[in-house]
């Protein structure tokens, strides 16, 4: 499972990095979103991977005596998801505003030389 998760984080990051290096705002937004997915998965895994264990210690629950999964990364991921969501929303609005005001969707606000043709 560790290998699979590492692979997913790696592929998401690579795609994200490729997309944010593109010249238009839509791939940029997608790339930043993929990067935030990658980092959320990564944060989740920092508490070590465990299956079927509760994130709380309760004496009345039989499973918790055998072990528990670290609750802190889950709280961190939740915070990161909320912040990432708000930032993506803001970025999309800004990209739309730039599209309207600059007349094209290039991140520098000027069309490529080949676009006129």
């Amino acid at each position: 499972m560790e290998a699979l998760l590492a692979l997913i984080v790696g592929v998401l990051t690579a795609c994200g990095v490729y997309l944010i290096l593109r010249g238009r705002t839509f791939p940029l937004v997608l790339g930043l979103t993929l990067l935030s997915y990658a980092v959320n998965l990564f944060l989740f895994a920092t508490g070590r991977l465990a299956i079927g264990l509760p994130p709380i210690i309760d004496r009345n629950l039989a499973e918790t005596i055998g072990g528990y999964t670290d609750p802190l990364p889950q709280a961190l991921v939740l915070t990161a998801i909320v912040i990432g969501f708000a930032m993506t929303a803001f970025l999309i609005m800004l990209a739309l505003k730039a599209r309207a005001e600059l007349g094209n969707d290039h991140v520098d606000g000027r069309p490529d030389p080949g676009d006129r043709a």
Binding site: L32, L43, G47, L76, M87, F90, L94, E101, G109
Partner: protein
């Protein structure tokens, strides 16, 4: 538990909420007065906090009364209190300029202004790495709003770059924080400082990678070369009071580099000791030269000032990179000076641009500015400050940094590059000054700048004068702040002290 530590975070949050709620019921005039009063209260709070930590130990506030490594802590040491005071004073003057009319451009200027202060104060006070990330996001989201305030295609373009770069930076921050938690099992900065010294060899590479990722993130915020390219466009295209307030934004990055570099990767960090110092000094020195060349090549006054901000970051980080107590003390003194002087120049550039009709702040001969003598005199004083010429605080700060640099083996480099960048900056400002004020012909017909417009500029310049006159006591304080930073045991003891005792019991 100490309510004084959390008050500088709570006050702007509540103030921002209040201003948002009252937007519909109170007139703009009343809200302006209210906001100014609230920022004045923050100055007073920061001053009280500074006096308290100046005499006593580090103050710690445990949120929700959870003991240190488990709960989030807010820590007020001398450095944090100094940063809070500089921020609050700067914000007051920026706001004083904004209420002259800039704040009418969009509906949420006043709440955003307070939320920006909320993020800044929180970033200076927090003792938890993840909490630092959260406060970074708060101050960035507020800064995006402020940067775009007033609208216009140029601001939108600069804003898009600024937002995208900072979002990428935030992702790197999260990767670094996650790696720290995965290898060391904690995010409390004092606890990290304890645990990093005993990193097992198999995790050493990971901890080093996480530390350097953090370095990259803070270098992006501080505009250290080669991550400085966002700054000139963003600062040159936004409105004047926002640019003035942003003078502190690069210092947040410098503050974080100093905090993490001395606390977590300080002398006691064992295998990863002094992780940042090898990188910081050379990059800071190159930043000085690149910034100065940028200032020389700028074709607009505001872009030139933005490059001079990059130069000031270079000198600041040179001081922090030297790493001795004297150098850090000199750097903290220079930090206050550079912030106020850059803000004064940004505000002045707006007045100059307003007085030149269609020429705006382009560095070409244009119509004469009304009241050119007064505005030109202020520009001259501000240029003296920024270029670091005697007898004002810029010279004092630069001199102290250079004096501290003599103890370092790299002193010839520091000497040559700092002095060259100073010379280039001086040439750039002389050229702009003579173009703007001496080679002017005809009248622009613009209304002359009123006393109210010039008051914030004069105030900021007077602050720099005060920094020069009371340099003795101020240097005494920043020196004690630097000494406190170089003995991280005090910080660790203050944060974890009670917990360590409990474990021994």
């Amino acid at each position: 538990m100490n309510p004084l530590v959390i008050a500088p975070v709570l006050l702007p949050l509540l103030a921002g909420t209040l201003l948002l709620l009252l937007r519909g019921t109170l007139s703009l005039r009343v809200r302006r007065g209210l906001n100014l009063t609230l920022v004045t209260m923050q100055i007073l709070l920061a001053a009280i906090l500074l006096m308290t930590v100046g005499e006593a130990d580090i103050l710690v506030h445990t949120l929700g009364n959870w003991p240190a490594p488990y709960g989030i802590v807010l820590v007020a040491d001398r450095l944090a209190a100094w940063m809070l005071l500089v921020t609050a004073i700067l914000a007051w003057f920026a706001l004083l300029f904004a209420v002259r009319g800039t704040d009418a451009g969009s509906r949420h200027f006043h709440p955003l202004f307070q939320l920006q202060l909320f993020g800044l104060n929180g970033a200076f006070l927090t003792g938890d790495l993840f909490n630092l990330f959260v406060f970074f996001e708060i101050l960035l989201l507020a800064s995006y709003g402020l940067l775009l305030h007033g609208g216009g295609a140029r601001r939108t373009r600069a804003g898009l770059h600024f937002v995208a770069l900072n979002l990428a930076g935030s992702t790197l921050f999260l990767f670094a924080a996650g790696t720290f938690y995965g290898t060391l099992g904690t995010l409390n900065m004092a606890d990290l400082a304890v645990k990093v010294a005993t990193t097992p060899p198999e995790n050493l590479g990971l901890v080093r990678a996480a530390g350097l990722l953090l370095f990259g993130v803070f270098a992006l915020k501080a505009a250290l070369i080669p991550l400085h390219l966002w700054l000139p466009a963003a600062y040159a295209s936004t409105s004047a009071p926002v640019a003035a307030l942003f003078a502190i934004m690069t210092k947040v990055g410098a503050y974080c580099l100093l905090r993490v570099g001395t606390l977590i990767f300080g002398e006691d960090a064992g295998p990863v000791a002094n992780l940042y110092t090898d990188w910081l000094l050379p990059l800071a020195l190159i930043t000085l030269i690149v910034g100065a060349l940028g200032a020389l090549s700028a074709t607009e006054l505001r872009r030139q000032i933005a490059y001079l901000v990059v130069v000031s970051v270079g000198l600041l980080l040179t001081a922090f990179g030297l790493g001795t107590s004297a150098a850090i003390g000199a750097g903290l003194y220079y930090l206050a000076h550079a912030t106020f002087a850059a803000a004064a120049l940004f505000l002045l550039a707006d007045i100059i641009a307003g007085g030149r009709g269609t020429s705006l702040d382009r560095l070409t001969p244009g119509p004469a500015i009304p009241r050119a003598g007064l505005v030109g005199g202020l520009f001259f004083v501000a240029a003296l400050l920024v270029a670091g010429l005697p007898p004002l605080s810029g010279f004092l700060g630069k001199f102290l940094v250079l004096k501290a640099a003599l103890a370092d083996p790299a002193w010839p480099w520091a000497m040559v590059l700092v002095l060259t960048s100073g010379l280039l900056g001086m040439i750039a400002l002389t050229r702009s000054g003579s173009l703007l004020f001496l080679r002017a012909d005809g009248r622009s017909g613009a209304t002359p700048a009123s006393a109210g417009d010039l008051a914030p500029v004069v105030g900021l310049l007077a602050l720099c004068l005060a920094l020069t006159i009371w340099a003795g006591p101020i240097l005494g304080f920043v020196q004690s702040a630097a000494d406190q930073l170089l003995r991280p045991q005090i910080y660790i003891q203050a944060v974890l002290g009670s917990t360590i005792q409990t474990e021994h019991r």
